[in-house]
């Protein structure tokens, strides 16, 4: 299972053996330049406490080579308790933590204590700080400078490839990995499998998964990853087999149980999917966000069978739960999704109102997360306004979204703006202009659908064909996929939707 993070948090890890080469740095050593031989250079870890340093090395090894995140976090917390000035200890914890408040606090501590670290470590901390503050160009230059100094250091390769993947730079991430010559890190192998899957090079993704399974034969996560990538490739039955194997290895690995449910849903068997979700809910006590995530997936099964009343009932229960937990963003997001699958436009508009009200509450959520959610709500309102022919409403919400987008270089907010702007321009038959926006939001099925049509309108058959193929092969268990892809597949197969993209591709 892949977890999408909106705040671009990164996970960092390192190999213990790399750090065995470095002693405890003295103050004089701390300011020394990086080692000059990039073939053997390793990023230093500077702490006044040998024990804290050892703990961080242990945590990183566990994390990168054993994929044991929770255990790593616990160890890192101990390390920074022992040495509160351990800048890289704070940085690693900031990247690995599962707690948003801790991520933010640890990043601040890493930045505040950076003067206790070497210039190389300061470069890493500066890179993450720039990224956290949405200063993309300085973040990129620092990342490349770190990479150029340590092109074969496992941790640096991990940090770089993962950050690039979060920036959707999959091919670059793979190039960095391949140039590194590192072939024995299960954590890197896992991530590279996902990188290949992201660019739909499934043969290479499967080869990575074979290596990952071989490296950790007694772990569930390799089987779970393999299953997810098989599902993305549309190989559903094999996917379920791997999820089941994961559960045999570790019956408590609950994401595999929900992975089975998601897969049945994508296969079109919603009754079976709901049965599998229920097994998961009964068997595993889940953290709040995961409970909401899979309840949402369960609600989406009703959308897939066009039972919109059933969907609204299920979504309402989630919104109520989120409200009771004072989780404003979850509540807002659920109302937004209710609006997206509501058939009555007036009701849909009311749901968007509730969603926006929840963002104004803003309880227990990061400011950036609320902004991202609001952007999604505005985008949904633009699309709904276009649907009911209310151009004024569409334009006013688009203007709000544009303003948000201009004042932030957050990728999600920008994507939401481009998706909405593309939809408005498409509705005005300004296809060339629509395309330039829709291409910027090319991971959203709603935009992909319009993009395929816009390409066709301007006579770009190859683009229409490529986009149609992308959309028809999209196997993500999300609401957007449920709303767009199955209908698009039917339409495309039947050639019954006037001017659909497949007909364009056939003409080509």
């Amino acid at each position: 299972m892949i977890w999408k993070t909106m705040v671009g948090r990164m996970i960092a890890s390192v190999v213990c053996s790399s750090f065995l080469l470095t002693g405890v740095a003295s103050v004089a050593q701390q300011t020394a330049p990086a080692q000059t031989n990039p073939l053997t250079a390793v990023l230093p870890l500077t702490s006044k406490s040998p024990e804290a340093k050892r703990l961080v090395e242990e945590a990183l090894s566990l994390y990168l080579d054993r994929v044991e995140q929770e255990q790593s976090i616990e160890i890192l917390r101990k390390a920074v308790q022992i040495d509160p000035d351990f800048a890289m200890g704070h940085e690693v914890l900031a990247q690995i933590s599962l707690d948003s408040a801790e991520q933010v606090a640890e990043q601040e501590k890493a930045f505040a204590t950076r003067n206790h670290a070497t210039s190389s470590e300061q470069l890493v901390i500066g890179w993450y700080q720039d990224a956290a503050e949405h200063r993309l160009i300085p973040a990129i230059t620092k990342m490349n400078d770190v990479l150029n100094q340590y092109p074969h250091d496992k941790w640096v390769i991990w940090m770089t490839t993962w950050w690039l993947q979060n920036q959707a730079q999959y091919e670059r991430s793979l190039a960095v990995y391949e140039r590194s010559g590192i072939t024995d890190s299960p954590g890197l192998i896992n991530n590279m499998g996902y990188a290949y899957a992201s660019i739909r090079q499934f043969d290479k993704a499967f080869a990575m998964m074979d290596k990952y399974v071989a490296a950790l034969p007694n772990d569930s996560n390799p089987q779970d990853s393999y299953a997810e990538i098989l599902r993305l490739a549309g190989r559903f039955n094999q996917s379920i087999e791997h999820y089941r194997t994961s559960l045999v290895i570790n019956p408590e690995f609950y994401s595999s149980q929900f992975g089975i449910a998601d897969t049945y849903s994508l296969m079109g068997d919603q009754v079976r999917a709901r049965r599998e979700y229920e097994i998961g809910f009964q068997k595993f006590p889940l953290p709040e966000l995961q409970q909401i995530l899979w309840k949402t997936r369960e609600a989406t099964t009703y959308v897939r069978e066009s039972d919109f009343d059933g969907a609204q009932h299920a979504f309402q229960a989630i919104a109520d739960y989120a409200h009771s937990r004072q989780n404003s963003q979850a509540e807002a997001d659920t109302y937004r999704q209710m609006a997206m699958c509501e058939q009555n436009p007036k009701e849909a508009m009311a749901y968007l109102g509730k969603a926006e009200a929840a963002t104004q509450d803003g309880k227990n959520a990061l400011k950036i997360a609320i902004s991202q959610e609001l952007a999604q709500i505005l985008r949904a309102r633009v699309e709904l306004a276009l649907k009911i022919g209310n151009k004024e409403l569409a334009n006013s919400n688009l203007a709000r979204l544009e303003k948000m987008s201009e004042s932030s270089d957050d990728m999600l907010i920008e994507d939401a703006y481009h998706g909405a702007a593309g939809a408005v321009l498409f509705s005005h038959h300004k296809y060339d202009q629509a395309i330039s926006h829709l291409e910027e939001d090319a991971n959203n099925p709603l935009s992909l659908k319009l993009l395929a049509a816009a390409y066709q309108k301007i006579g770009y058959s190859a683009g229409a064909k490529r986009t149609t193929e992308t959309l028809t092969n999209l196997n993500d268990p999300t609401l957007e996929q449920a709303l767009v892809v199955p209908a698009f597949r039917k339409c495309s197969d039947a050639l019954s939707c006037g001017g659909n993209a497949k007909s364009a591709s056939l003409k080509h």
Binding site: M6, R9, A168, E439, A442, N443
Partner: protein, 151 residues
Amino acid sequence: MTYRRLVLTLLIFAAGLPCTVQAKQFAIVSDKANATANLTAAELVKIFTARNRTWADGKSIRVVMRDPSSADMQLVLRKVLNMTAEQAHAFVLAHRDAIMLADTDDAVLRFVSTSPGAIGVVDLYSLTQDVNVVKIDGKLPVEQGYFLRGN
């Protein structure tokens, strides 16, 4: 699953694995001593098509880029050179004194950082601290409406 990144926001519901072409962004780079911080798109086109060969201070301009007929450089080919791949190939051959080709972005950056008066074009994610990033029409690559962004 990938590393168990427990999401902090719930927009995950909308997000799946990306699987499409991501819009490219190119950065125009100059050597650190170059005082030109901004060019208009028209000025950029003139420089890359060898119609302007000197900077305001009189220094010679040397353009360096990867092969403009390669797949990765289509945006530059279309928006800066405004030529077909064949035309670009012939154009570069005919202007070897002003335009250099490099195999990689790293090579472009190396040349620009060590050659006063050089200007190059690289993928945004190749940038290092050894060069200046030149704005186009007052915009950096990350800004909305930037000239060298798209598919």
